[in-house]
């Protein structure tokens, strides 16, 4: 869904993703924002889990980067948006990368596809040598 003019973006926070401890911090920050924005426990859990998967990808595959967390308000709708960016090697084959069970790193291959299922909105921009940028949003 393209960002409409009516959506306001607030409380932007930028967090580095350089170490495994940073992944924990991303989870905690996502949880805090989700609670502050009135997300239900299930919605919090889904979003935090998606954030954990993408933060780990940013570290493991993108060689580190950052995430911008922001609160969205669209009339009565409230949401949370996370944008993960890295300057890593990028993703060669996006379709493959989004397939369940496909992994180039020895994982389960559920990170990207799972994070997409756990989000209401998901966009990915990546090209070899140009890094990766993934946006997810979840509305409560």
């Amino acid at each position: 869904m393209p960002p409409s003019a009516s959506i306001s973006v607030a409380n932007r926070a930028l967090l580095p993703i350089r170490t495994q401890e940073d992944i924990v911090r991303v989870r905690q920050a996502t949880r805090e924002h989700a609670i502050a924005h009135g997300f239900s426990l299930v919605d919090q859990t889904k979003l935090v889990t998606a954030a954990s998967e993408l933060a780990r990808n940013t570290l493991d595959y993108g060689h580190g980067g950052d995430v911008e967390i922001a609160r969205l308000v669209d009339g009565v709708r409230k949401g949370l948006r996370l944008i993960f960016s890295d300057q890593g090697p990028g993703i060669e084959d996006l379709d493959k990368a989004l397939t369940d069970g496909y992994s180039t790193g020895g994982g389960l291959g559920l990170g990207l596809s799972g994070a997409r299922r756990l989000s209401n909105e998901f966009t990915i921009d990546s090209a070899p040598g140009k890094g990766t940028r993934i946006m997810i949003a979840r509305w409560r």
């Binding site: 495994q20 401890e21 992944i23 924990v24 989870r27 905690q28 949880r31 426990l41 299930v42 919090q44 859990t45 889904k46 935090v48 889990t49 954990s52 998967e53 780990r56 369940d100 994982g107 389960l108 559920l110 990170g111 596809s113 799972g114 299922r117 756990l118």
Partner: protein, 124 residues
């Protein structure tokens, strides 16, 4: 470096995960548990995850790995206390924790382990 404590209760090992684990800590637990199973000849492992607020694919893989390694070492693994929101998310994420036995709480998990010790055939 910090570690998740592993308690011995008779022939079983009990692990209660109470912190938001970073990945290395999870790997460390996997190694520690495997060593302890052999060292004390444990017949069962009970992992209490009731304090865990999320289980992502990394933690899920760790749990599956522990269950698999324990089985090879002749020990049963039971995971107990998963929060409902975590269970809902886990399934949507695409993780089924195949081969991992679960129980609602520590008591029921202990019963399950004791029963499999008394009558291994019944568990198949």
């Amino acid at each position: 470096m910090d570690r998740i404590p592993i308690l011995k209760m008779g022939p079983f090992l009990l692990v209660t995960i109470q912190v938001d684990m970073h990945d290395q800590l999870a790997m460390q637990l996997q190694d520690d548990l495997t060593s302890r199973i052999v060292a004390v000849r444990a017949r069962g492992v009970l992992i209490d995850i009731s304090s865990l607020e999320i289980v992502d694919s990394f933690i899920g893989r760790m749990i599956s790995n522990i269950a698999g390694m324990a089985r090879v070492l002749d020990a049963e693994t039971v995971v107990v206390g998963m929060q409902p929101a975590v269970a809902i998310t886990l399934v949507e994420l695409g993780l089924s924790l195949e081969g991992v036995r679960t129980a609602l709480n520590v008591d029921k998990g202990m019963l399950l382990l004791q029963r499999s010790l008394e009558d291994p055939e019944a568990e198949q």
